[in-house]
């Protein structure tokens, strides 16, 4: 009788253990973009190799940000891997909310990650998220319109040149705007652009004592230049244009120049969607000669929340998804132009990838961005188009709304900057800075 019970118990335990082994599964929260969706298509290969099932939760960027922030701050444990950016990673790493990505295998070659990326995804030298793809910003311009205007785009132009070229390329009768730039409110939309642009004008968000700097002339110079140029050569309603709106305008041949994320290069040169695919040139984001260009730095990266029960499986997935092998897998099936860019040095040393028209300019843009020294004057924060402090997202959203109101003609530059200064000072004081 005893033996019978023991056998039953052993069989049941074996069943449970087997089921658990087969049922090992990780849940990944991610954004909806081309590279991430492509990766989901290759997940079966990871499962075949490791036996680990992968469940995807794909959400729009802002929804995802709210969702994963709620989960990680409450230790909800809903996700084993989260797709986060350069803004969240150092803050969450410092709070102990992420598993440090140390002990990665030798084959993974962590030293191959572009230094700008690993620097932005680390806290005190510890890597907390592995970049799946990285981006900077650069100029995309119509080579035919530039030629028609009798001008030649330098590889590293100044803002003054861009303004003049935009005016020369503008043809209102033909519905061509010389330049398309983000103006939409939101810290990751128009706020990101104007902050990166202000760096090249010598402006900064905070001085070394965390005092807001909107009352300094550099911010007024930035906004006045932007508004003047966009009024002269920008599209109607630019105050509500973000990445997608400008992409749509550019693809339809309605923009002479567009300064935005380097990942847009693959969209505007894709003949299926873009009417101007064969006449697009690239250049570094402009400067004013002060030593800083107006390009940003961003990465979508994979991180493991500290509350996960599947740390080893999650690490295995991250090693696979951000490896050199994965890049080769995508290249083999879909061509080099479709591999996730901006994360690994070896990709840019690959002769095949060097043939991709926007590869060099993307790398140059990423290399010219330094998140630890983003502005002309010293600052106490890390980040180019953001300051990596928890309060920034809320403050910058409000400030960018004030700026968008200027673009829409609802208030003056001076009024917007005064409001931005007062609001930011109040919030920073309340936060104890």
């Amino acid at each position: 009788m005893y033996l019978k019970h023991a056998l039953r118990a052993a069989t049941a335990m074996t069943f449970v253990a087997t089921a658990a082994a087969h049922a090992q599964s990780i849940t990944i929260a991610t954004v909806n973009n081309g590279d991430m969706i492509r990766m989901q298509g290759y997940t079966d290969k990871f499962t075949e190799a490791t036996g680990i099932d992968v469940e995807w939760v794909t959400l729009e960027e802002n929804v995802l940000r709210q969702r994963v922030t709620t989960d990680i701050t409450t230790n909800g444990g809903q996700f084993d891997i989260m797709t986060i950016g350069m803004y969240e990673t150092p803050i969450w790493g410092a709070n102990g909310w992420l598993v440090p990505l140390d002990g990665l295998s030798e084959d993974y070659d962590v030293g191959d990650i572009l230094p700008a990326m690993s620097g932005g995804l680390s806290h005190e030298g510890t890597l907390y998220a592995a970049p799946f793809y990285g981006e900077s910003s650069m100029i995309m311009y119509r080579t035919d319109l530039m030629e028609k205007a009798g001008m030649e785009m330098p590889e590293a132009p100044s803002w003054q040149f861009i303004k003049e070229a935009a005016a020369a390329m503008t043809d209102r009768d033909a519905d061509i705007n010389g330049i398309c730039l983000r103006g939409k409110a939101g810290w990751g939309e128009g706020g990101a652009f104007i902050t990166a642009m202000s760096n090249s004008f010598g402006a900064r968000w905070f001085d070394e004592d965390w005092k807001p700097q909107f009352d300094q002339p550099e911010w007024a110079d930035t906004l006045n230049f932007y508004v003047e140029m966009m009024s002269e050569s920008g599209p109607a309603g630019y105050a509500t244009n973000g990445f997608n709106e400008n992409l749509s305008l550019f693809q339809q041949g309605k923009c002479g120049m567009w300064i935005d994320a380097t990942v847009a290069a693959s969209f505007v040169t894709n003949p299926t969607d873009s009417t101007v695919a064969d006449s697009v040139g690239f250049a570094l984001a402009p400067d004013t000669g002060l030593g800083k260009r107006s390009n940003w730095l961003w990465a979508w990266a994979l991180a493991i929340p500290a509350g996960t029960q599947q740390e080893d499986a999650a690490k295995q997935f991250i090693e696979w998804a951000t490896s050199k092998d994965y890049i080769e897998l995508v290249a083999e099936n879909e061509g080099w132009a479709n591999v996730p860019p901006g994360a690994r040095t070896s990709l840019y040393e690959n002769p095949e990838y060097q043939k991709v028209p926007f590869a060099k300019m993307t790398l140059d843009s990423i290399l010219s961005a330094d998140p630890n020294n983003p502005t002309v004057k010293p600052v106490p924060y890390v980040g180019i188009q953001f300051a990596a402090i928890p309060e920034f997202a809320g403050i910058a959203t409000q400030v960018s709304q004030e700026f968008s109101a200027v673009y829409a003609g609802q208030q003056t530059v001076e009024e917007a900057l005064a409001k931005a200064q007062a609001f930011t000072a109040e919030e920073m004081e309340a936060a104890g800075y």
Partner: protein, 276 residues
């Protein structure tokens, strides 16, 4: 003196009603049309109305990428469950308020409705923490309870309004004939209020089906309904409007069909008691 409605006025009213109806329906129509375009056609300027090459490619991609039936089933369970549970709780509550009112009945009704004025995000963290403690995160049961609680004030209010139109004498007569409270509610009150209950059920089913704050924030994989399905096709960095439109069309199709077949019932219920 009876008011005469001229033919011209009738025509004008009909035309106006059609114009308003089309205006309201236009965004849905545009979404459906966009779902049959390519991504390039979806952003074409000037916009293409009917003169484009119709394609089912977006639907094929969406079907391939997402398990639509799983999202649909979750939506049915969550919306249906929360509505049924809400009605079961609200019928006795509305009965008490309509037929056995106290001095505070109006205050209670207003207080119930005032809970709808609190922005959902204000209680996100308390509810999220409760869900973690109770093991309800990413469960359909948890969402059924939350959506039921969110819509309960509306259900009670609607049923209260309908019940008030039923003469109390009929219930009194049933009581005198020996009906118990349960029998009075089940066999006398409920059959008389069927149009009102039906429209309440339909309206709340639609509200629960479309709810996109709690369903996104409290689910991940197992309980994710069609709102999460749509959210997975929205992107601020990339033009995927045609695919997003296909996903949206697939998400609203069931509720659109349900609304179409039950419109008479819905209108009858909503106008129940409006004309004496």
């Amino acid at each position: 003196m009876a008011r005469t409605v001229t033919t011209r006025r009738k025509s004008f009213n009909t035309a106006l009603a059609w114009a308003v109806g089309l205006l309201i329906f236009f965004p849905i129509l545009w979404t459906i049309l966009t779902s049959f375009k390519t991504e390039a056609q979806a952003i074409a300027s000037p916009p293409l109305f009917l003169n484009f090459n119709w394609t089912l490619e977006n639907y094929a991609i969406v079907q391939e990428r997402s398990d639509y039936m799983r999202f649909l089933w979750n939506s049915v369970i969550i919306a249906g469950g929360s509505t049924v549970l809400g009605v079961i709780i609200a019928v006795p509550a509305a009965w008490a308020m309509a037929f056995v009112p106290s001095k505070r009945t109006k205050d209670i009704l207003l207080w119930m409705l005032s809970t709808k004025m609190l922005p959902a995000v204000g209680v996100l963290y308390p509810i999220y923490l409760l869900f973690i403690r109770l093991g309800l995160l990413d469960t359909r049961g948890g969402l059924v309870v939350v959506l039921m609680l969110i819509n309960l004030p509306i259900i009670v209010w609607m049923l209260y309004t309908y019940f008030r139109e039923i003469p109390g004498e009929i219930l009194e007569a049933a009581r005198m004939d020996g009906a118990t409270l349960k029998e009075e509610i089940l066999y006398v009150l409920t059959p008389m209020a069927i149009p009102g209950i039906a429209s309440t059920v339909l309206l709340n089913f639609i509200l629960a089906w479309n709810e996109a704050f709690w369903t996104l924030n409290l689910t991940a994989v197992d309980a994710a309904p069609l709102t999460a399905f749509i959210a997975s096709y929205s992107s601020p960095e990339g033009l995927f409007f045609a695919k997003l439109s296909a996903a949206s069309t697939m998400a609203i199709a069931p509720i659109l069909i349900l609304g179409w077949f039950s419109q008479k019932q819905l209108v009858r219920g909503l106008t129940f008691g409006a004309v004496k």
